[in-house]
Symmetry: C2
Subunit: 226 residues, 2 copies
């Protein structure tokens, strides 16, 4: 029973990777750099994007907004004049807990790729499955809020291992929490030694310049001819 | 393609429900009331259990601790002399994002059911899939932290709809947040009208007596002969 289950999942991941490669080829053809942005529910992905994407120097942003249901986040980003396309995962079942390459592929015709340099795919809020499904991205980043506690790298190791940047959000609340930065970094380096980490408050703006720098570098590097 | 996918999932849920019924029969035979406790990562489930389970009047508690990896939470509960069994979901793959009935069934032999009146199954931190998989529980409760924002019922409707109690945690941080209780309740009643809700701080102890009362009533009601 157990072996059968694993085999089915591996087949599903093979199919996903094939479609992810097709997405990637389409993005490359249009010169679009793609960031897969992941986090637990309520870690602050949308607030971060609202505050770093407008006015990103030399980079035209766009967002593909993944949610189980609703379009609240997409509406917030549209209010900031960021091109945004909504992708809901609740078709026909209780809702998928992650975006996969085929869902992203189904959204491609709705994306104005010619007008976008950096496409951020805001994944469904979940610290497990999004890390297992590539969607055709150039890089992956995650947001980890200090209110979630410093043990999360140990409890969700694949997510922290799968990303190229960890954005530690809500540092404006640190003075009201027992959150221990040293302990968090010890756990983080235990699962992903040396991964870049930026401490920010999407609400107050602290640290957001470094996030903008990282995004501009990503878009420039990946957009350059090979 | 889409229809095939839905059919596979439904078959998986059928099998899950069959095993959940078997679990439930075993729990009933031993006179154990079972609560499936769910939340996003870092919402405070373990801190809540640490503080409400010891000394619960007339009810002997036990915990089945579900995590992708690690045993940090189980260790914390064992420190409080609460009988706890660890169940990790990372066997053979990146990790399951929820507990299912078969995983719980595999843990039954390790649980001292004869010494437990109320078994709390602490699910994997995730607001999507745990709501789709019954494990043999009598009731389901979820913890929603105010730091996650007031829009979560709209974004994860199945989770808020699937539970009999919503425990709103971290109210000690309210004075530092823009969280709007009226807006949260409006969204909550939109997806699950009138569901009981308790406002608590697992950290300061505020509101925990009401959680204890709810747990005692649950254990007493469900434990009574039909």
């Amino acid at each position: 029973m157990h072996r059968v289950k694993v085999r089915v999942v591996e087949d599903a991941l093979d199919a996903n990777n094939t479609i992810a490669s097709a997405n990637r080829a389409d993005f490359d053809r249009e010169g679009v750099t793609v960031l897969n942005l992941m986090s637990a529910p309520g870690a602050g992905k949308t607030t971060l994007l609202e505050n770093v994407l407008p006015g990103l120097p030399g980079v035209r942003p766009g967002v593909l907004e993944g949610d189980v249901a609703g379009s609240l986040d997409a509406d917030r980003l549209a209010d900031r004049h960021i091109p945004v396309t909504q992708l809901n995962t609740d078709q026909g079942f209780g809702g998928e807990c992650h975006l996969d390459a085929n869902m992203v592929r189904s959204a491609l015709p709705a994306l104005p790729l010619a007008d976008i340099d950096l496409l951020v795919i805001e994944n469904v809020g979940n610290l497990v499955c999004p890390a297992e499904f590539r969607v055709g991205e150039d890089a992956r980043a995650m947001v980890s809020s200090v209110t979630e506690g410093e043990d999360k790298p140990l409890k969700y190791p694949l997510m922290f291992r799968a990303c190229e940047l960890v954005i530690v959000n809500k540092v404006d609340l640190l003075e009201h929490l027992d959150w221990d930065r040293e302990k968090f970094e010890y756990h983080l380096d235990g699962v992903h030694p040396g991964v870049p980490r930026l401490y920010v408050s999407a609400k107050t703006g602290e640290g957001l310049d470094e996030v903008r720098d990282w995004l501009v570098k990503l878009a420039t590097r990946a957009g350059a001819p090979a």
